[in-house]
Symmetry: C2
Subunit: 362 residues, 2 copies
């Protein structure tokens, strides 16, 4: 078996140790005689899995006690509905402020409009989201039920380097493509959510971290299984949850802890990203697409100066085991998604390929 370096944006590569562990117990979980996916979500074995997942998240993300961890069906985009349904009525005027820093923010806005009065308080759409737009907090209505941002923009390769101080307005952050890749002060946020399939596990589930005082504003039409209070009260087991995804996330968290936790991974992520950004910046053959000061460490986007060479670049990379480097259609070019699970050696292999390709085609 040959495993490739998989630069796909998500569902993304998982650590090989995690995959091997899952495979080793796929037919018989810890001597039960059945797989973890074949036993009840209310069994003592699964109970131990979800409790340990909680514990590792509290520890690794340094989550304060006044926050709840929820595992919510449907991935990050289901949260585009769940966030306004659960939070827009915090103020009876049902207003919320959104920062439009990319395509997923735009989709979140489109969805939120069903439930209240949405203000786009900053947008970088006119420059095709090549930066995080400037946000003037003075222009945000103080009656906003929340302020919404996308912390890392997968498609465009940008991220918030610092997060805004929002005072009494809860800050809601879609962190799908970077949660646990960098240290955070959770206290800055009212809600953090992340689909699992980029940095945390397989697809289909979202991790939601919510400050307890925000649990009780759901609109009456909110489906029971999109109501945060339901998840908080029933330990995310009001119905049968995606037990495989929670189990896989636990393995990913154990791997993260074994590798030094978020502090160590953040350093490694910076090193990995710097390797590729240096290769871009020291060449006129490659052109970064994101404004330098907003560059992401998770998704590195660039173009070839001579666009006609792109297909050749991608196919030769693929042939060398550098998989899924094609940029999103909204940007074009190349995108290297280098989440926690991507080893430094994978980034080095990409850089070596870039230099070789440049030498042969410049």
């Amino acid at each position: 078996m040959t495993r490739v370096y998989n630069f796909g944006a998500g569902p993304a590569m998982l650590p090989i140790e995690v995959m091997e562990k899952a495979r080793s117990e796929f037919l018989d979980y810890q001597g039960v005689g059945a797989s973890i996916i074949e036993i009840s979500h209310r069994s003592e074995e699964f109970d131990a899995v979800i409790n340990e997942t909680d514990r590792l998240l509290f520890e690794l993300a340094n989550i304060p006690d006044n926050y709840k961890i929820l595992y919510v069906h449907g991935g990050a985009q289901m949260q585009f509905s769940a966030v306004p349904m659960n939070l827009i009525a915090r103020n009876p005027e049902k207003k919320a402020a959104y920062v439009e820093s990319g395509n997923f923010a735009k989709l979140a806005i489109k969805e939120a409009i069903r439930y209240g009065k949405i203000s786009v308080v900053a947008s970088s759409e006119t420059s095709n989201y090549d930066r995080i737009p400037e946000l003037e907090m003075a222009e945000v209505d103080q009656k906003s039920s929340y302020l919404y941002i996308t912390s890392n923009n997968t498609i465009y390769g940008t991220r918030w380097q610092q997060f805004p101080s929002t005072d009494n307005i809860p800050l809601v952050a879609d962190m799908t493509s970077e949660f646990l890749s960098r240290e955070l002060d959770i206290n800055q946020f009212g809600i953090i959510f992340a689909g699992l399939q980029k940095n945390l596990g397989p697809a289909g589930l979202a991790l939601v971290i919510i400050r307890e005082d925000l649990l009780d504003y759901a609109l009456p039409e909110t489906p029971n299984l999109l109501t945060y209070r339901t998840y908080a009260e029933k330990h995310s087991l009001s119905n049968t949850n995606n037990t495989f995804a929670i189990y896989m996330m636990k393995l990913v968290l154990e791997w993260l802890k074994d590798h030094g936790g978020v502090t160590a991974l953040e350093l490694q992520n910076e090193t990995k990203a710097a390797l590729i950004y240096d290769a871009i910046d020291t060449s006129s053959f490659y052109l970064g697409t994101a404004e330098v000061i907003y560059r992401s460490t998770m998704n590195v986007t660039f173009n070839l100066a001579e666009n006609g060479l792109l297909d050749k670049f991608l196919s030769q990379a693929h042939a060398q085991g550098l998989y899924a480097l094609k940029g999103h259609r909204n940007v074009g070019g190349v995108r290297a998604s280098i989440y926690n699970a991507m080893p430094t050696a994978g980034c080095q292999a990409l850089v070596n390929f870039m230099k070789e390709f440049e030498k042969n085609h410049a």
Copy 2:
């Protein structure tokens, strides 16, 4: 490794051939160099998976061309919200009729009340759901947007032997615990849905089969990812779907086809259930809890005449590799869930144990 006979109600056992196949390609899907859970839901590899899943479902369930197959986030209970949100406005009076044949029907009713005027047109609650209640179609308001039933009641071990003729009112059926276990005329139904985790795959996703003319009645507050039209238009890939669950369902469907399809499995299921029901009926030591004419072939429920022996029965069964036989707390006693994946040998092993236990304790 010793695999047990797993009688759990769900997440339930999957065919060993399916589990072994999934394990064999868990780290490297068909030579891609990555797992199916690590690659894009928009990759050609996953596209082939979802297309083949569709094709097998159309073939095995004999689904007519005027129906759509949707893979919807959140399992069957998310459908308790999605069905009324998508269908209750079919008639502007927003009425729907529900048959309350068990706990899951009750939960579906509780959820539907958020969205319209719900009539419970039949209920067997007073006899603790030991039967399917008598339904008089003459008493169903002809302006009902739909009539809702639970085709098989997992907790109570009952099922509809025939389905009601509802004329112009679309019949909606929760078939979570029996879909593909018996032959059906899909034309009798407007919507069939089933959480995967009993008979079709791992937990977290629902299969929804919907007649095309019912796709366009969603309430304006329906979240995009609970809107059936969204799934129908985007081939269930509007966002990143639960790719693992779809992949596993495909393997289950291939297994089903290899074993003769629904016709062959239905015969086997009847044989399996008859083995256990005969053991109950030929003994005064065991007492069936469901009315005989409504007995399910998927979930066999019974009590011990001497209730004080129950714990001993369950622990001795467990010690012999007969796993998860404890009945649901609403019924007590014993429940043997014997979905498609349970071999006849498992049912025979249970019957042998029952006879032995009776001999030692009668």
